[in-house]
């Protein structure tokens, strides 16, 4: 309960900060949406020259893309620590965090919330609805609940990957540049993994499991028979990566407190 009420207090702080820079907020939202639009453009351009990608149609791809935007938007709304090493390790703000009586990771998440990316998630829903209608998908009464479950699981996958990567900051304070690079990779999760060869398919499924933030869970709704098994795996992967990340994070914090400087 305490943490929940803290959460709303931080949101309030965020709103107050944002309202002082109102024009920035809009630029942020617009550029975020444009960014998503440009990615969609790629899919559209490609399908001007072909009808099928593997055995996936244009609208199926667009649907996957819409799904992809939802957990991503939600995740980045609550997790915006891309400059963690710089701000918390090099500039030493981690010390301040550690002198406060709230779990350190929770504090970090709260200090970096950015609800403006919720617009991305919203437009993802719109795209899904559009593509779903084009495809004539029929929704069972429980499908919205499944959607919520899958989206939550995908968010946990993101959390797992990025918290683990950010924890690298505890081990080396040099700019690793690994975050933006992995961030590039996540984009491949929105293409059907069967177009890749075994190694990449394996990596996107089990190592950096970005297939579980896009194509796998989306295929549940597309009723792509052979891929639905993976859709059901999404919650498992989410929990596994979530726990793994927490463990790595704690090892990192311990190491920071052991090594320090």
């Amino acid at each position: 309960m305490h943490y929940l009420s803290l959460f709303f207090d931080y949101i309030k702080i965020y709103m107050k900060t944002k309202l002082t820079y109102r024009s920035d907020l809009w630029i942020e939202i617009v550029s975020d949406l444009l960014f998503q639009g440009l990615n969609l453009l790629f899919i559209l351009v490609v399908f001007m020259h072909t009808d099928l990608l593997g055995d996936w149609t244009r609208d199926e791809m667009i649907f996957i893309y819409g799904y992809f935007m939802v957990p991503y938007g939600l995740f980045t709304a609550f997790f915006n620590m891309w400059n963690f090493t710089e701000r918390y390790i090099i500039k030493g703000e981690m010390d301040r965090v550690l002198t406060r009586p709230v779990h350190n990771l929770f504090q970090l998440v709260l200090e970096n919330i950015d609800p403006s990316s919720l617009f991305g998630a919203l437009s993802g829903v719109v795209i899904m609805v559009y593509a779903g209608t084009q495809l004539g998908l029929d929704w069972a009464w429980y499908d919205p609940l499944v959607l919520v479950l899958l989206v939550l699981s995908s968010m946990m996958v993101y959390f797992g990957v990025y918290v683990s990567l950010i924890a690298i900051g505890f081990f080396t304070d040099s700019q690793t540049g690994i975050l933006p690079l992995v961030w590039n990779l996540q984009n491949y999760g929105r293409y059907p993994v069967d177009i890749y060869n075994r190694v990449i398919r394996f990596s996107l499924t089990w190592v950096l499991p970005f297939a579980f933030v896009g194509v796998h869970p989306a295929s549940y709704f597309l009723k792509k028979g052979e891929w639905q098994l993976y859709a059901f795996l999404t919650p498992l992967m989410g929990v596994a990566f979530f726990l793994l990340a927490l463990w790595i994070w704690n090892v990192g914090v311990n190491r920071y407190r052991g090594a320090g400087s």
């Binding site: 024009s23 960014f35 440009l38 990608l53």
Partner: protein
């Protein structure tokens, strides 16, 4: 150019700094390899049974992707972000009192970074990729030096765009959104993700009037042998023209920025 030794020292320093970031180096190689691989398979799937699309054979497409990404490893830099950060935290004012041009020094640092990547990153990467994927390297030796020269222009033009975007931090409080948008725009409009010929005609005719194609699409087209003969020199000329043209807005923005800096104290 009278403080050339100082600039060369900056190139060297940046090179050494890059070497110091070893994790960055390893992860970079890995991820560029995955990027190339992923796009290779993506395009394989797009081609399906087709042998050519929009004038690109499958082999040319593969080479195009490989060389495009390797070129990106060289020309890519974060000058925009560095400049924006220095403007925001005010350290740009301190840099101004040093006896060199601020923008030139940034450019040189970017070049040091690029030099590091082309020697320790792109070159071994290209060798590796051509072993793993069916890449057709140019057989005409003359293509190589010309391509290297084009790469230098790619670097210049891309850095110019970065500097321009970075300098906008003088005028808006937060240009982070603008910077990430620019990044996507450059990747898309330069033809890295999709060669320009794949765009609808109206789009590609617009893009022909923008500087982005000079970064990836044109040099890579020369490399894969889609542009040959005297057209090669036209590409070089176009790159040069864009380089000169882009100097103008940078100069203008920089003048205004400096005035702002001196009036408002940063």
């Amino acid at each position: 150019m009278f403080s050339l030794p100082a600039y060369l020292e900056m190139v060297r320093m940046k090179f050494l700094m890059m070497l110091a970031y070893r994790v960055n180096y390893y992860s970079g190689i890995l991820v560029y390899a995955i990027n190339i691989g992923a796009y290779y398979f993506l395009w394989q799937a797009i081609y399906g049974d087709n042998q050519t699309m929009q004038g690109f054979t499958v082999a040319q497409m593969t080479t195009y992707i490989a060389v495009g990404w390797m070129a990106r490893a060289f020309y890519f830099n974060n000058l925009d972000r560095e400049i924006a950060n220095e403007i925001r935290d005010g350290s740009v004012a301190i840099q101004m009192i040093r006896p060199y041009s601020y923008l030139m020094s940034k450019m040189m640092q970017g070049f040091g970074e690029g030099l590091f990547r082309i020697l320790l990153f792109s070159t071994p990467g290209m060798v590796l990729v051509s072993l793993l994927l069916p890449v057709d390297l140019p057989t005409d030796w003359r293509v190589w030096p010309v391509f290297l020269l084009m790469l230098a222009f790619s670097f210049l033009i891309n850095s110019q765009i970065n500097i321009l975007v970075g300098l906008f931090a003088f005028f808006v409080e937060n240009n982070a959104g603008m910077m990430s948008m620019k990044r996507i725009l450059v990747d898309l409009c330069s033809g890295l993700i999709v060669p320009l010929t794949f765009f609808p005609t109206w789009a590609s005719s617009v893009l022909e009037w923008l500087p982005f194609q000079a970064i990836t699409y044109l040099p890579a087209s020369v490399f894969v042998g889609r542009v040959t003969g005297s057209a090669v020199w036209e590409v070089l000329l176009l790159q040069f023209v864009w380089f000169v043209v882009l100097l103008i807005p940078i100069w203008l923005v920089w003048q205004r920025a400096r005035r702002r800096l001196f009036v408002q104290g940063g």
